[in-house]
């Protein structure tokens, strides 16, 4: 669906993305990486909200060649949590997800879709509540509903489960995963929780200091040495009974290796054992 070719982006003096090239083939892709790795910028570039140098192909066609209105219809982007202070009901806020289709007199179809999204997310009881009276978690659920109400083909989400309790996080990810499968969507989610990434995503993209450090399936990407190099965390990676990878952080290392290939880390060689061969299979950002 997406092919990113050598994109670079800078905010004034700070280079945020450096020659990022990646093919996003999976239906549910997670973009992971430490803070300031460039995840949000990357997602915003895919959403067409930032215009980077380089090329982004959507369904084989450069983004700028798509008609803006068609692209806006196709894409739904959920930004990071914002404090919604508007005096709008939850129903009105979710209805706004269908912005391009709304007119003064709202059509029954738009009302039905809004209601069904609220029901699918289990928040229909919030419909008459005023947005600014909701908790952060509830507001986040409303934002997710808003993104889904558009019925997009591509769903881009930036840390959608921030502020949600564990139950809601699971519920939201299960819903997004099933919706992605059922409707044949392309969903790309930036997130911090590696266990959620391992469990739900088919493809992981690891961003580190504005570059693609690695990408592949969770099994290929989530290794102990990668966690040490990218996150500066000593961790154990193991499979649970269901065959899903689990990341168990042990402690923060004194420093992390900033760049791919730089092995001068502050931990002993025991952390660079069997993963080295596996890592060679990973598509490197600098390869």
């Amino acid at each position: 669906m997406f092919e990113v070719q050598d994109i670079c982006f800078r905010y004034k003096s700070r280079q945020v993305l450096r020659d990022v090239s990646i093919r996003i083939v999976a239906s549910l892709t997670a973009v992971i990486g430490p803070n300031a790795a460039g995840k949000t910028t990357f997602i915003k570039c895919l959403a067409g909200l930032l215009l980077p140098r380089g090329a982004i192909l959507v369904e084989g066609q450069p983004m700028e060649k798509w008609k803006k209105t068609i692209l806006k219809e196709m894409l739904s982007y959920l930004p990071q949590q914002s404090d919604d202070k508007a005096l709008l009901t939850v129903f009105e806020a979710v209805l706004l997800g269908r912005l391009s289709k709304l007119s003064w007199r709202v059509k029954d179809e738009d009302l039905d879709i809004t209601l069904s999204v609220l029901q699918e997310l289990g928040i229909e009881h919030l419909a008459p509540r005023i947005l600014n009276e909701l908790s952060g978690g509830q507001q986040q659920m409303v934002s997710i509903a808003q993104a889904l109400a558009k019925q997009p083909r591509i769903l881009l989400m930036d840390e959608p489960t921030n502020n949600l309790d564990l139950h809601r996080q699971l519920e939201v990810f299960e819903f997004i995963a099933s919706l992605t499968r059922k409707r044949g969507l392309t969903s790309i989610v930036a997130l911090h929780d590696l266990n959620f990434a391992a469990r739900f995503a088919e493809q992981l993209i690891v961003l580190h200091e504005g570059e693609v450090y690695a990408s592949g399936t969770p099994d290929e990407v989530l290794t102990e040495s990668l966690l040490l190099r990218v996150y500066g965390v000593e961790a154990k990676v193991m499979c649970d009974d269901m065959g899903v990878l689990q990341v168990i952080p042990i402690r923060a290392a004194h420093s992390k290796c900033p760049r791919p290939g730089d092995l001068s880390c502050s931990v002993g060689p025991e952390f660079f054992s069997e993963e080295t061969s596996m890592e060679s299979a990973i598509q490197r950002g600098d390869s």
Binding site: S82, K85, L87, L88, L96, L99, I130, Q146
Partner: protein, 328 residues
Amino acid sequence: MLGLVIALVAVFVLDIMTGPAWLSVSEVFSALLRSPEADPTNLVIVWLIRLPVAIMAVVVGASLGLAGGEMQTILDNPLASPYTLGISAAAGFGAGLALIVGVGVIPHAEHILVPVNAFVFSMLTSLVIYTLAKIKNASSETIILSGIALLFLFNALNALLQYHASLEELQAMVFWLFGSLMKSNWTKVWIAAAVLGLIIPLIIKDTWRLTALRLGDQKARSLGANVEGLRLKTMIYISILTAAAVCFVGTIGFIGLVAPHIARITVGEDQRFFFPCSALGGALLFSGASVGSKVIVQGAVYPIGIITAFIGVPFFLSVILGRRKRYW
């Protein structure tokens, strides 16, 4: 909203009834309907004097209420209004130039010098704010700060004009700055109403995008709104609306600030309800002020700008302080 409409109709009739000669409700209606039993004097009073004033109060109040509401929406600021952004002060300066220096922006238009100058200066100010905003990507902070800077500039220029004015000129200018509906006639009413009638459908077209703007720029953009374009376009609508309103009645500061807050508290921020309510609230307040200006001292008309604040401030404070929940 229905309550606001009923209240507005009642105040509108009351506005026609009040004046040096009090008319009863039946006298007002028989004159309005031009019934054969209507007193010819009442017909003249109603149709030539009071009706233009009463309609002007409704139109100007609605224009300022609507302009204030949309300004607060696009700038995401509860203090934004045509007054706080210097547009009204610019109109005052334009009027002052005409009254004191006798300088008009359009030659050979002496009889309409004051309103034309006021209109042109308020539009020029909006244009300056618009240009500055466009250079800086139309952020709400740029628009507000540019507007406040211009407010101070025009206040200083107004003071300068007053400093150099003769006693008569000074009196004329101060009277204009106080605001007055008494110079209303049917031509002015039609112009102000036509501008309002032209802008309303344009705002209706953008109601949902304006509602989305209340979720913040980032969210609105992610929902597909062209935030910068919408902000600049609405700024132009507001400028025309304000310029057309204040050029005929003078500087009215309070309506554009208060009416939107009352609307917000009453119907929320879904623009389908918010903007009609904001306009209705403005019309109601200004009509009420028009009545107040005539009844305080029998036989005299107080400047409406003063009465607007006298009526509006306690009402506004009671609404704001009486509300327990956060609304901005």
